[in-house]
Symmetry: D2
Subunit: 390 residues, 4 copies
C-alpha cells in the first residue's frame, strides 16, 4: 500500500508501495540515525536532520522528473530506486566519515553495492525486476542524481536551509523542475529555466562557506576523523564496521573507548573544540600540502604535542566543469558557456576555500606563529579570530 | 561577550554574556542530544530537534517579555534564567522518560534543583547574584514560564510545527507578545490580543492528537518505558543515572543490554513497532483503569505473553482551569470566562483522549478481542487500523 | 493550450485550456481590478490582492478535489467552472458593495446568472457542453464551493493571511484536502482530518474580528456605502451599473462627482476616516436595531449633522448550523455533533460581533454620549479608543 | 504616538511618532495607490503591492541600520526621512511612468524636491529640525538608500518575491544587516557578510529577467508609455500633472479620453496585449538604436500602421561599478575586487538584456520579417514565441 509521509519541505509525500518496502528494511531505517550535516548542529542548532528524510525527498523530486522521461517504466523505477538509495552507504555523521572510509577502504558513499548486496533491499529490487548493477551505475553516474543540476541538490539545498535557518539554499525549485526535459536519461534545461538553474548552483556556492565548510564544522569533523584514525591504529576499530554503524553507535563507542579518542569525543560533546590558530585563503599557499607532515613540523616547532594540532587542507576538487546542458534556439549548449556567472563559479569556489590550522585554546598563539612560519607567510593578516567568529 | 545564534524559528538570537556561560556548561550542552519530541521522528521524520534550541528559544521570548515587567533587573534576570533552564532536568527522549522518573524517583522535569545543585551552572548563577531557589520556584510556578499562555508554549508550538511540517502550531506570536503586559510577574493579556491567546491554546489542542499523542509516538514511548522498567527490575539500570544520560547513552545502553530490553530497542531502531489492537475514546471506559492489571488479564485471556501487550491509559490531567488573565474594560477576568472557545476546551481535550491496547503484529486480532471483552465493549466500532493510520 | 500561472499561495497552477478561455474574457479580467478585501489595505497595507487570483486559487483546489468524485467528467467540469466563476458577480471592493446591491437590486454576489448570461463566458461554457443553470446552482448551493468546509474558504483564509501578514488563516490545507472524500458531490470529512476541518473553521473565526470585521475596515466600508446611497438618491448613479464597474471606475466616479460623496471619497483617499464614538458588543443591545433611525436620533440628540454619523449594526446571520459531514466508524455525523469546539463556535461568533457608532473626529465625544443614551447604556465601559486601537 | 503596522515581510513595524505624521499626509497616502511593480500583475497576479508598504519597509530597515552609525541623532533622523520619502515622487505605476517623466520633464523619481516643497511634509520635517536639502541629497546619493547594498533593495527584493511568488528575491537579510557597519554614513560590509552581500546582488540579477524585465511587463509598460505620449502630443495631458496622480487617476483618464490612448488602455484592461514579433539578445545588434526611427521604418516596411509597432530597446545603464565596500583584514576593498561573481555581474547583466519588437497579434509575422531585415539579422533564431512564453 502506498504511504503518505509529512515532510516539512515538500509537504505530503506519497511513497509508492515498493519504495515503502525498501524504506521498511533495517538498512534504510539506519539512515534515520545518521545526521545529514554531521557536526553542523554545533553551529546551527537546528541542523539535526537526517539522511532518511533527505533520501525520501530526493525520491519525491525524482518521481516528478521521471514522468517526463521517454523510457520504459522499468527504467523509470530504476531511477527512483537510485534516488532513494543514493545515500544508503553513508557512514555515521555522513561526510564526516568520508575521508576515513576513503583512506582505509577506498570507499565512497556512492558505492552502494557492498551495503546493498545480500541484504533485504536486494531482494525487494529483484522482486520488482530492477537491476542492481544498473541502479549502482545510475547512482554514480547519472546526471539526474549526481549531475550539476540534480535531484540530490534540489532537495538538500532547500532542506539544509530549512533546518539551519540560513536563507541561501532557497531557490526556485518549482520553476526548475518545470523547466527540465529529458533526452534519454539526460536532463536538459530549457531556456526559460536558466535563471533557476544558475540559482541552484549559486545557492550551493553560498551554502559552502556558510554551512558545509563553516570552520566550526570543519574543526569538529577533523577532530572526529583524528579520533577514528587513532582507534584504527590502536586496533580498537575495524574500518569496515563503520559501514553498519549509525551516529549512536560511533558516539557510544568513542565515549567508551577512553584515551585520546575518548577525550576528543568528550570535547565534541561539551563543545570544547579546537580553535583556529590560522585561517587563510587556500590560494595563499600554492602547491600541494602534506597535512600530516605539516602537523608534525608545526607542532614540533611550536613545542606542542602533535595530537593537539590539526592542519585542515580542503580538497581541491578535480578540475571539474559544469556540464549541465541547456537548450537554446534548438541547440544544446553547456550551461557554463551561456552563463557568465556559472563560467566564473569554478574560480570563485576555489578562491573561497580556506586553509586552517587548529589547536586547543591555550596553544593558539604558539601554533599560529609556527604555522605562519611553516607556510612562509610573513605578516599576520588574518582578522583576529574573535572578530570573525560568527 | 554576547553571541548570536541562528535559529530557524526566531532568526538571529542574541544571547547575553551570562547566558552564554550557562549554555557553555556540559550540563546544558547535554540538551543538544535530547530530542524535543522523543520518538515523534518515527512519524514525522523531520522531528529531530532538541531541548537545546527550544531552551534558547524560550530564553529569547522571555527576554522580550521581561522588558515590560515593572521589577528589578535582578528579578528580570531570574526570569530569563528560569526560561533558559526550565528543561535542564529533562532525561533522554524528553517526556518519554517522564513516567519512569515519576514512578521511581518521584521526579518531574521541572525539578531542576537536583540537576543544577553543585554544578557549574550554580556557580554562574551565584556570580550573577541570582537565587537558585527563586529560579526553581519560577520554573515550577510562574505563569510566564509554566502558565497557560507562556513563553514555553510560544516557542514549542511554532518550533514543533516547523520541524514536523504540521501547520497547526502556527499562531500569531508577534501579536501575542505585543499584547501582553504585566502585574508584577503575572502576565496580563490585553483585550486586543484575545484572539492571539485563544489561538495559542487552540494550536496546542490541535497539536496533541496530531503530534504529541499520535498513536505511533505513544506506542514507541510505551515500549521504551517498558524496556526501562524491565532493566530496573533486573538490576541493570539505576533510575537515578537517567538524569545524566542523553539519547545516545540510553540507546547504546539498551542496544547492549540484550534480552527483552534489547529486543524492544531493536524494534524501535527498525521501526517494527507494536500495533494497535484497540484504539478507542477514553470516555467509552468510565472510571479508573489499572493499566498493569489490564495488561495482565488481557494477555492471559488472549493467550499471549504479557511482555507483548501494552495498555496505554492517557493520564487524565487534574481538573485544571485556564487561569490566564485578560484585561477587559479595566477589569481582570479569566480567559475562560470571556472566551466561549476556551471554556469548552477542557471537555474537548478530554473527549479527544484515546485509550490504546498495543501488541505485536501477529497477535493483534487475539488481543483486540480480549481487550474489548475486558473493557466490556460489545461491538467493534473502531475503524480498521490501516484506514485511520496517519 | 493549458497555461501555468505562478501563485504565491499554491505555487505553479496549471490552468486547463477551457478555463484559460474563460479567464481571457474581459468579464473575468475585470476581477483583476477588484480588491479581495475591499478597504482592508487601510489597516493591512499588503492587502491589495484581488478576486482574480482568489478565483484561480479556488479553481486549483477544486481541480484537486473533483478527482475524488465518483461522477461524470462533465459534472466535474461543472464543479470547476462553478469554482472559477463563483465570484464573477462581485462589484467594486467586493463585499463593500454587497449591502448596496442587496438594498437596491436584491442582488448577491452569488447570482452569477445576470453577469454571465449573454457574455462570452456563456459561449465558452456551451462549447464545452456545460450547463449554465447547473453551474449557477452549484455556486449557490453546493457544499464544495459554499459549504462550511469548502474550496472557497480553503483558498481565501490562507491567501488573506499571506497578504495581510496575519498568521490566523494558516491551517493544514494539505491534510484537509487529503482527508476529504465524496458521496456524489457532497464532501465527507474523514475521521483523521477532523482537526484540520476544525482548524479551518477556527481560522475563519479568528480572521473575522482581526481582519474582515476590523473596525477600520467597517468604518471605510460604511462610509463608502453611504456615498453610494447618496449618489443613487441624487440620481447620479444607477445601481445596475455597479455590476460592470471595477475599483478604478467607482473611485474615479466618486472623486469626480463632488459634493458629499466626493468628500467621503477624499476622506478614504487621505485616510481621514470617521472614528469610533462607541464600540460595544452587539449582545449588549438586545433586539432588532434600525440603523437609519438610530443615526437620525443620535445625530439630532448630539446636535450633529446626520451625514456625519454612522451606526454600524453587524448583520446577524441566520441561525446557521455547521452541516459539514464527518465519517466516524462508518457513519456520517455532523461536525458540530462530534466537535465540542465547533458546537460552541456559533455562540462564540455571535459574542464577538461589535456594534459601532462612528463620526468625524471633532464630534466623537458628543456622539458617544448621545449613542449611549440612545442604546440605554449607563456606564461608559468601553476602553478608551486609543488604547484599543491596533 | 508611535504606531504599529503589520507587514507581511518584516512582521510588526513600529513607526516613530514623527514618521506617523509624514505617513498621514495625503502626499504619502497617495503611495497606497501606486503599484510597486507597475503592470507586473499581468504576469504575476499577486503583484499588486504598492510603494506605500515598500517605503515603510525601507524606513524599517534603515531604522535598524542607523543605530550603528556614529553620528548625531539629527543625522540619523535625516537618513530615516530619506528612506521613508525616497519614493514619494513616483508617478502612477512607478517605473512605468519614468521614461515619460524623463522625456518631458527631465524628472526622475529620486527628485523628491518638487513634490515635497511647499507640502505638509516639508512642515513636518522642519518641525523636527531636519534639512530638506540634506534629505534630498541623501535620497540621490547616499549608499545606504541608493547604493549597491542598500535598504531599498533589501526591502524590495524580498517584498517582490513575497507577492510574485518567485523565490529569487529571498536572501539572507538578517545576516546582511548584522554584517554592516558604518564609516560616517558609508556602509561597510564585514568580511563574514560577503556571501550575504553577493547574494543580494545576485537576487537582483535573477529578478530582472524573471520579473522586472519580463517581456509581458515590458510590453504593457511600452504600450502605456505610448498612450501617454499620444495624449501629450494631442494636448490632452499636461506631463506635470502626472506627478500628482495615482494609478486610479491615470487609468480613469485613459479610459475616458478615447481614441488611440483609450484603445491601448482597453487592451491593457482586457489583457489583449501586443505580442512579441522578435525578441533577441540586445548584444546581437551592436551600436545605438533609435527606437522611434526603427518603429517608423519597420512599420513602413511591414505595411503596418506605426501605432501598432513598438520597438523596445532596453536602456544600457552607464558603465557602472559595484562600489560597495568590504572590510578585509582591516582594509577597505571594493566588493567587485574581492568577489569573482560580482566582478562578472556587469557583463552578465548586459548579456541578459533583450531587444523586443512588439505588435498586435495579426501582424506578428509581417513585423517579425521587417524587423529582422531592419536589424540585419539573417536567420530567425529566436524560439517560437509560444515555446518560450513564461
Amino acid at each position: 500500500m502506498p504511504k503518505t509521509i509529512r515532510d516539512p519541505i515538500h509537504g505530503n509525500i506519497v511513497i509508492p508501495d515498493w519504495c515503502v518496502k525498501i524504506i521498511d528494511t533495517h538498512q534504510f531505517q539506519r539512515l534515520r540515525r545518521i545526521k545529514q550535516l554531521g557536526f553542523a548542529s554545533l553551529v546551527y542548532p537546528g541542523a539535526n536532520h537526517t539522511r532518511f528524510e533527505h533520501s525520501i525527498g530526493v525520491m519525491h523530486i525524482t518521481l516528478k522528473l521521471v514522468k517526463k522521461m521517454d523510457c520504459s517504466e522499468k527504467e523509470r523505477k530504476e531511477c527512483v530506486a537510485a534516488a532513494l538509495l543514493h545515500d544508503i552507504a553513508h557512514a555515521p555523521f555522513s561526510h564526516s566519515s568520508e575521508y576515513f572510509l576513503k583512506k582505509y577502504l577506498r570507499f565512497r558513499h556512492e558505492n552502494f553495492y557492498p551495503v546493498v548486496k545480500g541484504s533485504a533491499i536486494e531482494d525487494i529490487l529483484k522482486e520488482e525486476g530492477l537491476s542492481l548493477s544498473k541502479i549502482s551505475k545510475l547512482i554514480e553516474g547519472v546526471s539526474l542524481i549526481s549531475g550539476d543540476i540534480d535531484a540530490d541538490r534540489m532537495d538538500y539545498l532547500v532542506r539544509d536551509s530549512h533546518y539551519t535557518g540560513v536563507a541561501y539554499g532557497v531557490f526556485d525549485i518549482m520553476r526548475l523542475i518545470d523547466g527540465i526535459t529529458f533526452r534519454g536519461v539526460e536532463p536538459i534545461i530549457s531556456y526559460r529555466a536558466i535563471r533557476a538553474a544558475e540559482s541552484l548552483l549559486l545557492s550551493r556556492f553560498m551554502m559552502y562557506p556558510t554551512v558545509y565548510h563553516h570552520h566550526v564544522c570543519r574543526i569538529a569533523r577533523k577532530m572526529y576523523e583524528r579520533a577514528l584514525e587513532f582507534c584504527v591504529e590502536e586496533g580498537q576499530l575495524n574500518p569496515r564496521d563503520l559501514l553498519k554503524m549509525d551516529d549512536y553507535d560511533i558516539v557510544s563507542f568513542l565515549r567508551s573507548v577512553g584515551g585520546y579518542a575518548g577525550e576528543i569525543m568528550k570535547r565534541i560533546d561539551e563543545r570544547k573544540l579546537f580553535k583556529r590558530a590560522i585561517y587563510i585563503s587556500r590560494c595563499r599557499v600554492p602547491g600541494r600540502i602534506d597535512a600530516k607532515k605539516a602537523e608534525k613540523e608545526i607542532s614540533e616547532s611550536a613545542g606542542v604535542d602533535v595530537e593537539k594540532v590539526i592542519v585542515d587542507v580542503p580538497e581541491e576538487e578535480d578540475a571539474r566543469e559544469f556540464k549541465a546542458l541547456v537548450e537554446v534556439d534548438g541547440m544544446l549548449k553547456k550551461l557554463e558557456e551561456i552563463s557568465p556567472l556559472i563560467s566564473i563559479l569554478k574560480s570563485a569556489e576555489k578562491k573561497s576555500l580556506m586553509l586552517g590550522v587548529y589547536t586547543t585554546e591555550e596553544y593558539v598563539d604558539k601554533v599560529a606563529k609556527a604555522a605562519l612560519r611553516f607556510f612562509g607567510i610573513r605578516e599576520i593578516v588574518q582578522k583576529r579570530l574573535d572578530e570573525i567568529l560568527r
